[in-house]
């Protein structure tokens, strides 16, 4: 029974690997069809880059009958990082990055108690480091168009929350602005999932390339550990909008 469960849980990963192989095979064939220039080996294979921009996090949580607790669909944060690239051909490269990004969310608990109306918002700022490993495919000459996909691993570094809560003995609202202490039993600080996106770039100097990209980080790990029987899952999907500067070595 456990073996079956393990096989089932591995299906998404297997599927992703198969699709990556298919993509590679498809693009290789396409490149060969495309002629000699695209498939030709390039003179500079390695690049380093820096990325900086903003992100929008979508925190997925089912609040069911707790209808007065409303989560914002998206919350803005920042993202910046570095990237190492290896490019065997002009049309294909492999990137390994390290990105510090925020996966923030906002919840507003609104209710009426006797004649008093309460709005108790909480903004949670979460700092993550994500390490994406991806395959990137490019077309174009002066301005290149890129599409990329891969996997990422990550770690939840820090959590902070700020807002207003209800104070029992005072019947009043209470403002807080605190770092959140991670709970070893509850918080799953390991983050992993898939990443994909697209972008544009162009060379401004012989070795310097600048560009912009939009990227999805699709977490497949619940941010909570399976510490209770009826656990309602919570996930993050983060979209980053980044400017990229790369230097070819």
């Amino acid at each position: 029974m456990n073996k079956i469960k393990q096989c089932l849980s591995a299906i998404p990963i297997v599927r992703a690997v198969i699709l990556c192989v298919l993509i590679a095979a498809t693009t290789t064939v396409a490149a060969q069809e495309d002629g000699d220039s695209a498939a030709a080996p390039r003179t500079r294979h390695f690049s380093v880059g820096i990325m900086a921009g903003l992100d929008r996090n979508y925190h997925i949580v089912n609040m069911s009958y707790m209808a007065d607790m409303k989560y914002d669909k998206f919350r803005t944060g920042t993202a910046f990082g570095i990237r190492l690239g290896y490019s065997p051909w002009k049309w294909l490269s492999f990137n390994l990055g390290a990105v510090l990004l925020q996966k923030n969310y906002h919840m507003d608990h609104v209710f009426q108690y006797y004649r008093l109306y309460y709005s108790l918002p909480t903004t949670t700022t979460n700092e993550y480091i994500n390490v994406p490993l991806e395959m990137k495919l490019s077309v174009g000459r002066t301005v290149k168009i890129h599409a990329f996909g891969g996997i990422y691993g990550g770690y939840w570094l820090k959590s902070h929350r700020k807002g207003v809560t209800y104070s029992f003995s005072n019947d009043r609202e209470y403002t807080f602005d605190d770092d959140v202490e991670f709970n070893d039993k509850r918080d799953n600080r390991i983050d992993k999932g898939f990443t994909w996106g697209a972008g544009l770039s162009g060379k401004i100097k012989d070795r310097v390339e600048v560009g912009a990209e939009v990227r999805w980080y699709y977490g497949v790990d619940d941010i909570q550990k399976p510490y209770m029987r009826n656990l309602n899952p919570r996930y993050n999907t983060t979209i980053t909008f980044q400017a990229v500067v790369a230097y070819w070595l």
Binding site: I23, A147, T165, N232
Partner: protein, 441 residues
Amino acid sequence: MKRFTLVAGALAILAVSLVSCRKEPLDMVNPNSRICKSYLQQFETVWQGMDQGYVFWDKDTVDWDERYEKFRPVFEAFDARPANNPVTQSEYWEAYTGLFEGLLDHHLTGRFYTAKGIPRGACEAWVSPGQNDYYHPTGISYERSLQLDILQKKAIPGTYLESDPFSYAPLDFPGSYFCLIKGKNEGELIAYFRFTNFYIMQLYAYHSALPNSYTAQAPIKAFYGPRYNEGITAGAGYANNDSVVGLIIDLRGNGGGSVADLEPIIGSLAQSDTRVGYTRVKEGFGRLDYSAWSESIVKCPSLHLNKEKPIVVLADVTSVSCAELATMLIKSLPNGVFIGERTYGAVGGLYSGGSTNVYHDLFYGGCFGDYDYFDNGPDPYSDIFSYYVYTSTFHMVDKDFNDVEGVGVKPDIEIKYNRKRLESGYDDQLDRAIRYIRVGH
């Protein structure tokens, strides 16, 4: 471009295929409003209600998932019983007692009713796991009568008063008591106040017989109840009179009440606002989903003790809930000391009541179920399996973030309850309080 189209298409397929990598959300049921028609449904609802709304999961040692595995088959078997072999009262009681056994919340009380079973076609279970803890062998009213008999002998003649803002109240609560006791030196006095509950503000507000019931005078009337008719100046004078060198606030046998009493009555003993502790509520379905901690500050009203004097709070295991908060507050004052024995340990703030038990659906935690049933009993003609779980809405810790739930507030000077001594005419706790004020330690 052909290549790019192929790549983009393949990536799009990849993206779409990954959407199913996540677990589906669970179907959650609001335990506050579910109509149950079977033993199993009632059990599932009660278990879920506690699972989602109980505020002590990060401190409680009970394995709630294990309880589910253990008791689900029991309730399932109840449903499967033939009509000629219905569930008995003791079986039903044992099942719910076992389910709740050992839970930390000392407010926790569950009332459960089955439309089937015996006797007389229906049985009912009340469970209060906290009550299995430390308790006094005698009843509160017996203890109180012994203590008051002794107090009257210590009171300066003519000063003993039984305040009875409650004598015409709809609730049969005893009121508050007052007397003056001799201090160490000639002319020095100790003011003694006893509050046997904290429903004082509610009752003042309730009673149209008292004018200005929610004005600034009301707190003063409440605190200085025995002499409220003498006005603010005279009433406050008892505590603020220079002859009074110390105060004893006796909260033994005080079963709690409304926190609305804390500010006007206990807050007036401080020189400024006092932080009693911190509270938090549940904020989601996870057992460990909590809001941020918020400070519990008890405000100091404008009319308060005009200078610091020694204040002794007397409390014991019969001091519950709001009485424990009051004890925490006085203990935290620089001139406050707690004499007696540990309090009961039910300090979690709690909102309960109303025909729809509206509080649960405001805070998504604490008490849930049919409050009418809890308050008025079952409808014997209904086929509904009624339930109500009375449990804390707020997790409370003291000002140093120590958990006091199930532990109680610990005294600075411990003097244990002694029934034999009381029956012999000695109240050791009161004597120690008087000595503390007379001697200073």
